[in-house]
């Protein structure tokens, strides 16, 4: 990597030299207290920030930008205008003009360092995270992919080991990172707060950005899978045609051959009316309440494929007197992280953070019905990006059922509602990402005392689909092998209807058992009579 330095020929000169970077120091407003971030466990000591590596930016320019980002010199500590280091590396933050109350994540401690720049292109330096690893291998034993894939070296290698072996000018990433499904069970398994998924996300991003052939079928296929938001929004224009065409035999055969998308899988049906169309037609919120507001992050799937989940959310929340806001939003980024498409994820994050932070400014908390979406907003966003207000967003984000369990007397309400007349039995699977948020038991606990509802937890195995992982032809068999335990337990359970919070887990459950799958919010709607 070329070094750009000021004239170094003369000591006298160098004495008075300053980098000409002041003009670019405009990344943030510099207002507000540093907000305590979410997550708050040991791993959040890890620095965050992914900066898109704009290959075309002239070197000097890029360095100027980075120079201003990485160096907040001690002398400027007392100067409020200079206090916020432009850790975006000078990339203009979408929310810098926002009038709402977000704060910035950069610590103002003059001793604070900024890990951007250790590796070229502003990548994160996570070598330090390796300090927490004792090599105990709990992560490897919890990894569903390592269990079925002998070629996959496991999360310990992908995370702390690989990072510890890195050097500044010596940083390529092993290809095996692409076999990680990003289920994040290793995060949960680690007794020592190693930021495993952050390490994996960053490494995968670096691999895809630098080492993956951009014209390869694999890259294009992954890009399409990762950008489900885009394809789904196209498909939704002609939902019936799309649902038919996408699952049309010859088309599927061609897709597998050309794109590596396994023909065994059925594409989800597209709703004839998306959630947002319904919301608009309905005239928006039916309840207005400045004291109880939530901003609903429906995600792509509830919008395009299962609007009934979104509708259930709205009805349930309105039942409890909440004013529901539905701000403009894009993909939460989960499939993009899993495919190393950090630039795409960041672009979408800019929109999401801006709009959701605005809603927070209006008194709302953010509620998601998909556990991967809430996981992303809570953990991956602050770990990977440094956008204005991103820590506030993380702190104010909840899963839909979780939020009600915190703020409402759900038990009492359900009791009063009296249960269901017709007995219903469910086989419940807790998604890995729910597990990581401590939510793996919430559905079972919520409904265990409701008359007429029987819900069985089918155990703590991974469904195996992990978002886009199971949608790759070369991973399909492994995906089904991972899911086998769950399928077996579902068959074993009394219920003939599956239940889970995660849309892709639902696809896998349906694919493996043929059961109908519901979301807990739908059952809540039914049991509350909302």
């Amino acid at each position: 990597m070329t070094r750009h330095t000021e004239d170094d020929g003369d000591a006298g000169d160098a004495n008075g030299t300053t980098e000409t970077s002041g003009g670019r120091d405009t990344g943030g407003c510099g207002c507000g207290e540093p907000a305590p971030g979410v997550p708050e466990a040991g791993r959040d000591e890890q620095p965050s920030i992914f900066v898109p590596d704009e290959g075309e930016v002239p070197e000097a320019d890029a360095i100027g930008a980075r120079g201003s980002g990485s160096v907040d010199s001690g002398g400027a500590a007392g100067d409020p205008a200079a206090e916020r280091a432009a850790t975006d590396g000078g990339v203009e933050s979408a929310s810098s003009g926002s009038a709402t109350g977000g704060t910035d994540s950069t610590e103002l401690d003059p001793d604070a360092y900024d890990p951007v720049d250790v590796f070229p292109g502003g990548d994160l330096d996570l070598r330090e995270g390796a300090d927490s690893c004792y090599k105990c291998t709990s992560c490897d034993t919890s990894c569903p992919v390592a269990e079925v894939d002998d070629e996959f070296p496991g999360p310990k290698f992908q995370g702390p080991e690989q990072w510890r072996l890195k050097r500044k000018d010596d940083h390529d990433i092993d290809e095996s990172i692409t076999s990680c499904s990003n289920c994040m069970r290793c995060d949960d398994a680690c007794p020592s707060s190693v930021p495993l998924s952050q390490m994996h996300n960053e490494a995968r991003g670096q691999f895809v950005e630098r080492q993956m052939e951009k014209l390869s079928v694999e890259y294009i296929r992954n890009r399409i899978l990762a950008n489900y938001h885009t394809s789904a929004s196209l498909a939704s224009m002609f939902p019936r045609t799309a649902s038919f065409a996408m699952n049309f035999g010859p088309a599927r055969w061609a897709m597998e051959k050309v794109m590596g998308i396994p023909k065994e899988r059925d594409f989800p049906e597209f709703a004839t009316e998306t959630f947002r169309e319904w919301w608009k037609a309905r005239g928006g919120a039916k309840v207005e309440n400045p004291d109880k507001r939530v901003a609903y992050f429906h995600g792509c799937y509830s919008n395009y494929n299962t609007p009934e989940v979104g509708k259930a959310m709205v009805r349930v929340y309105e039942h409890f007197g909440y004013e529901v806001m539905v701000p403009p939003q894009k993909c939460s980024g989960t499939p993009m992280f899993a495919n190393g498409m950090l630039k795409d994820a960041r672009r979408h994050a800019e929109t999401n953070v801006e709009n959701l932070v605005e809603a927070i400014g209006e008194g709302a908390d953010v509620v998601a019905s998909c556990t991967s979406c809430s996981m992303s907003l809570r953990q991956e966003y602050p770990e990977l990006f440094d956008l204005h207000g991103i820590d506030d967003l993380a702190e104010h984000t909840f899963e839909a059922l979780e939020y009600l369990r915190i703020h409402e007397d759900l038990e009492g309400e359900l009791d009063a509602a009296g249960g269901l007349d017709d007995e219903r039995e469910f086989a419940y699977h807790a998604p890995c990402h729910a597990r990581n948020q401590g939510l793996s038991r919430q559905a079972v606990e919520t409904f265990r005392d409701v008359d007429g509802v029987t819900m069985e937890d089918v155990g703590d195995s991974c469904s195996g689909i992990s978002g886009t992982y199971g949608w790759k032809e070369e991973k399909y068999e492994k995906s089904m092998e991972i899911g086998a335990e769950m399928f077996e337990h579902m068959e074993d359970a009394d219920g003939e209807v599956g239940m889970t919070e995660c849309p892709t887990c639902a696809m896998q459950m349906e694919h493996g058992t043929g059961y109908e799958i519901e979301h807990p919010l739908q059952l809540l709607e039914q049991t509350l009579g909302a």
Binding site: N15, R43, E445
Partner: protein, 621 residues
Amino acid sequence: MDRQVDVVVVGGGSTGCGVVRDLARRGLDTVLVEKGNLTHGTTGRMHGLLHSGGRYAVSDQKSAEECIEENRVLRDIAAHCVEETGGLFVKRPEDSEEYFQEKLEGCRACDIPVEVIDGEEARRREPYLARDVEKAIALPDGAVDPFRLCVSNAADAREHGARIETHAPVTDVLVEDGEVVGVEIEHETGPGKRVHREPGTTEEIRARHVVNATGAWAGNVGEMAGVDVEVRPSKGVMTVMNTRQVDTVINRCRPKGDADIVVPHETACILGTTDEEVDDPEDYPEEDWEVDLMIETLSELVPALEDARTLRSFWGVRPLYEPPGTGTEDPTDITRDYFLLDHGDRDDLPGMTTIVGGKLTTYRMMAESISDHVCDTLGHEATCDTADAPLPGSESEARMAELMDEFGLRSPVARRSGQRLGSRADDVLDEYDPNPIVCNCESVTRAEVQDAIGEAGSDLNAVRLRTRASMGNCQGGFCTHRIAAELAEEYPEPVVRDAEDELYQERWKGQRHALWGEQLSQAMLNHLLHATTMNRDGDPANLDEEVDFGAFDDGTESPDAGGTAGEAGTAATDGGRASDDAAADGGRASDDAAADGGRANDDAAADGRRASDDATTDGGR
């Protein structure tokens, strides 16, 4: 086996290895004897800095000039031992501007290429540098692996006919008719490769000349010959960090002082050092305050060090020497120059030359000058080529892409193997298929370990020095047994066990000085793994008497055996107990607790009756 050779070199550090290589290449019949491993004394206990000379540019310009000259030579002939990290002399606000200028002028005077950069640029290059660093001088410091360097010198010497004997302490210097005629050594486990439990032997090696290259121990060897060599050994501590906080050598730009350098070394950073005279190079106190001082003081340059994980600390003794009568009080003021003492001229005892002082960076130059002297004395005409001939491993660069494809290594593993083995990589890795990783922390494969065993016998510490196996963050906890297992094909079980214990103990030794925070947890986990899982503190196989297998419970009498087997395997159960408190209060703050709670309950739920089972099966989990 008394025969006469041309030269015996005593001491397998950088100087001794350099001398034996040089003399062997000049065609002399040479033997190197070393009481421990190669690098056992001082060489293996340094911070691995390849000096640019900047450090001596003010106080000792002659040394500085030698350093930059040899720095260039080593990048060339020992490329696989050197990492060209570059170095910075950084100035903090309280450091003297005058000295900064002096340093700069000194470097220029010594022909050391320098570049002055401001604080921002310095932090751009090394983001973890303190924010109040004002400016820095950039110069070509580097990192050198002293083990690999010595081993390569010794290997080259052997290729040129020299004999290398490690674990062979000198027990006497043979003096006949007022002349040194050789040494008596004790082979701790017999001549050749070290193999535990082989009986020791002694040997007299008669030589036309003896070179005493034992550094801080030179006085002891001198004493055996009846001459005084006044070495003033001075100890210094070095602290090893788990990761690289910096990728450049960071020096503090001030006159002199303790704790003023951070050297990125392989996967770690080494903090150095102190300078305190000791009486005995074998026996001196290793004190905690020295380690604390390293971390505290160097945190002024790199704040992240304060909270970073420390793996271990070690001490080394410098072989400082000054001519009798100089009487310098402070060891930091003693010159770093080297001295060649011809005992014929000096003490009227021909046949022996002692070399003291000096530093690793200039080892080759010192070796050349001693070899010139020895050749003069012996009347041997030959020219020195050590500045041009690459060391084994540095003939060409390892071809990384091929290592990955041909040998199926994952990229970080291929990179590390390639860097350690250099041009030998192909030959070494070709030997084993499959070639699993033996040491995960440092990515060392079976092939590399076996290659080192081929050279070092059952001496696993010598294997460690050659490969770095067990030098990562678990400090051998997860790999000493795997490395030892690599011996099992060739050596009997008791040898393997001894070798394993020795390596494990050596790893423990350095960790004693890092028992806080993460490394304390690591040490505890290692201990439990070895003491309980492997039962190494009470392994019946280590007992002298026969094992009474009848004393063990074979389980047949257990009243509950199989009692609940019929219910096993129905994992799909509800559970849903009131005690479940994995409720949702959001955020990762509570995650650990919540997730753990959730997990524990899941487990309980998953098999339903565990609580009652436990009661009847004696808590058998």
